[in-house]
C-alpha cells in the first residue's frame, strides 16, 4: 500500500492552526453554561472527538505537543484534575494515531467502536487514578452519561471535519475503503 505523499509544510501548519482553533472552540463550548448542576446532562467531550478524528485521519496534523497543550488548557479551564485529563487525552490520541493506517481501510462504524473503546479507557483510568489518590471520584453513572453523549457527538464532529474543513483520510486512495463519500 502506498500512502499519499506528505502534505507540504504550509498545509500542515495551517491544519495545526485549525486544530488549535477548533480545540479552543471545543473547550469553550464544553465550558459554556448550558445546564449547571448534577441533574444537567454532561457536556460531550468535544476536544476528544476533534483530536481523535484528526489523529486518525491526518496524524501529522495533530502533533502530540499541541494535543498536550490543549488538554492542559482544558483541565485548567473546566476545573478537572490538572494533568490527568491531558495525559489521558495524549495517550488515547497516540493509541489512535498508531492505528491510523489500519483504520483507513475500515468503515465509520468500526472507527466509532475504536474511538468509543479509547474514550471508555480514558474515563476508566481517570476514575481509577482519582480513586487511588483519595480524591472523591465521580459517580460511574455520570461518567457513563458523559461517555454516551460524547459518542453521540462523535459522528457530527467527524462530518464537520470531513465536509467543512476537508480533512479526509491520509491514505485517500487506500484500496478497500469505501470512504465517507460512499457512505453518505
Amino acid at each position: 500500500m502506498r500512502l499519499a505523499p506528505a502534505l507540504p509544510p504550509g498545509a500542515r501548519v495551517l491544519r495545526m492552526a485549525l486544530l488549535t482553533a477548533l480545540g479552543l472552540l471545543a473547550i469553550f463550548v464544553e465550558a459554556a453554561p448550558i445546564g449547571v448542576g448534577p441533574q444537567a446532562i454532561p457536556s460531550p467531550d468535544l476536544l476528544f472527538c476533534i483530536v481523535a478524528a484528526i489523529a486518525l485521519r491526518q496524524p501529522a496534523s495533530a502533533p502530540a505537543g499541541l494535543v498536550l497543550a490543549l488538554g492542559l488548557v482544558r483541565d485548567l479551564l473546566t476545573d478537572l484534575p490538572v494533568g490527568l485529563g491531558a495525559l489521558a487525552l495524549l495517550v488515547a490520541s497516540e493509541a489512535l494515531r498508531a492505528r491510523s493506517a489500519a483504520m483507513a481501510r475500515r468503515s465509520l462504524v468500526s472507527e466509532w467502536a475504536l474511538v468509543a473503546a479509547a474514550f471508555l479507557a480514558m474515563l476508566a483510568v481517570q476514575w481509577a487514578v482519582l480513586f487511588v489518590t483519595f480524591v472523591q471520584p465521580p459517580y460511574l453513572f455520570d461518567l457513563g452519561r458523559q461517555w454516551v453523549v460524547t459518542m453521540l457527538a462523535y459522528a457530527p464532529v467527524v462530518l464537520t471535519i470531513r465536509w467543512i474543513f476537508g480533512i479526509g483520510w491520509r491514505a485517500a486512495a487506500a484500496p478497500g475503503r469505501a470512504g465517507l463519500k460512499g457512505e453518505a
Partner: protein, 315 residues
C-alpha cells in the same frame, strides 16, 4: 508496506516521540501531584488562564446562552395558557401574603426601634454573569465574570435570586470560580428553622446535598427552612439555602432554593463580619494586681484592733 503509525519516519524520530511522551507523562503526573498537594497554587494558575481567555469564553458562551434561552422561551410559549392560569391563582394567594408581610414589616420596624437593634453589618454585592461551568462529572463549579477588580474575595458567598449558590474558591483579576453546594468538596455551616438546630450542608454530587452533624435530629422536620448560620465568619447569617427533605433511609437532605438549571447571573456578596468579642471581659477587669498582693491593702490604722468581727465559728 509501511507499518501502522509509521509516518515514513526514521528510527530517530520514533525515539524522539517516545522520549516526548515520557516527558509529557512526567509533566502531567507532576502537575496532578501539585494539584493534589498544593491546590491553591494550581487554583491561581487556573484563574490566571481564565483571565486570559475570558473574552473568548464570553463570545462563545453568549450565543449558546441566547440559543438555550430561546429554546426555553419557546417551550414556555407552548404552555402559556396553563401558565397564565397558574400565575393568576398564584397572584390571588400572594395578595393575601402581601398584606400580611406589610403588617409584619411595620411591627418589625417598631420592635427594632424599641430594641435599638443594630442591623446586620454592611453587605454589598456585585452581580456577575455565569460564563462557564465545569460541564463534566468531575466537579461542580461555575465561572463568573467578576473578579478581584470588582472586589470579589476568596470565600465570598454567591447567591441567585432565591438562595445560596455556592462559595468563591478562586479569584482572578476579572473572573472568579464558584464552588456549587452540590460539589463533593462543598461544606457549609447551616441553621435549620424554626428549631434553630445547627448542621453542616455537605455536597456529594446529588442535587440535594446531605445535612450532616444535625445536633438534634428529632427536632428537625421535612419542610423546615435551611439557612446559613454564619458560623466561621465566611458567610453572612440568614441566607436562604433550601428546605429539609427526609430520604427513605432516614437521612436528611436539603433541596436547594437556588435554581441551578437557570443560573445566568449570580450575586457575589462582599460581607464583612461584625466586630466580634472573642475574649472574655478584656475591657472591664482592672489590670491584674502585683503577685505579692492579695486583695486591696487596708491601712492598718483604719480600724482599731479588736473591732474586726470575729471569724465565723461554726454555729
Amino acid at each position: 508496506m509501511a507499518r501502522p503509525g509509521d509516518d515514513r519516519t526514521g528510527e530517530l524520530e520514533r525515539r524522539l516521540r517516545r522520549a516526548f511522551l515520557l516527558a509529557a507523562a512526567v509533566l502531567c503526573l507532576g502537575l496532578f501531584a501539585l494539584w493534589r498537594i498544593d491546590n491553591p497554587r494550581v487554583e491561581r494558575l487556573r484563574m490566571e488562564l481564565a483571565d486570559a481567555v475570558l473574552p473568548g469564553m464570553s463570545w462563545v458562551a453568549g450565543p449558546i446562552e441566547v440559543a438555550t434561552a430561546m429554546l426555553r422561551d419557546y417551550r414556555n410559549f407552548l404552555d402559556v395558557y396553563e401558565q397564565n392560569r397558574a400565575l393568576r391563582r398564584e397572584i390571588q394567594r400572594l395578595r393575601a401574603w402581601r398584606e400580611t408581610a406589610r403588617a409584619l414589616e411595620e411591627e418589625n420596624a417598631q420592635l427594632r426601634a424599641l430594641n435599638h437593634v443594630r442591623l446586620a453589618p454592611r453587605t454589598v454585592f456585585v452581580t456577575g454573569d455565569v460564563i462557564g461551568d465545569s460541564g463534566g462529572p468531575f466537579s461542580q463549579t461555575v465561572l463568573v465574570n467578576v473578579g478581584e477588580r470588582d472586589g470579589v474575595l476568596d470565600g465570598s458567598a454567591a447567591v441567585d435570586g432565591a438562595g445560596l449558590v455556592g462559595r468563591v474558591v478562586g479569584t482572578g483579576e476579572t473572573a472568579a470560580r464558584v464552588l456549587l453546594l452540590t460539589d463533593f468538596s462543598s461544606r457549609v455551616p447551616v441553621m435549620i428553622r424554626p428549631s434553630g438546630r445547627r448542621a453542616i450542608l455537605a455536597g456529594d454530587g446529588a442535587s440535594a446535598p446531605r445535612l450532616e452533624f444535625v445536633d438534634a435530629v428529632d427536632e428537625v422536620r421535612p419542610g423546615d427552612q435551611v439557612e446559613t448560620s454564619g458560623e466561621g465568619g465566611v458567610f453572612p447569617p440568614g441566607l436562604p439555602v433550601g428546605r429539609v427533605i427526609e430520604m427513605p433511609d432516614g437521612g436528611l437532605r436539603a433541596t436547594l432554593a437556588a435554581d441551578y438549571n437557570r443560573l445566568e447571573f449570580v450575586r457575589v456578596l462582599r460581607y464583612q463580619p461584625d466586630t466580634r468579642i472573642d475574649r472574655p471581659a478584656g475591657l472591664i477587669v482592672p489590670p491584674a494586681p502585683a503577685p505579692e498582693q492579695f486583695g486591696p491593702m487596708l491601712p492598718q490604722s483604719a480600724l482599731p484592733p479588736g473591732t474586726l468581727p470575729p471569724p465565723a465559728v461554726g454555729n
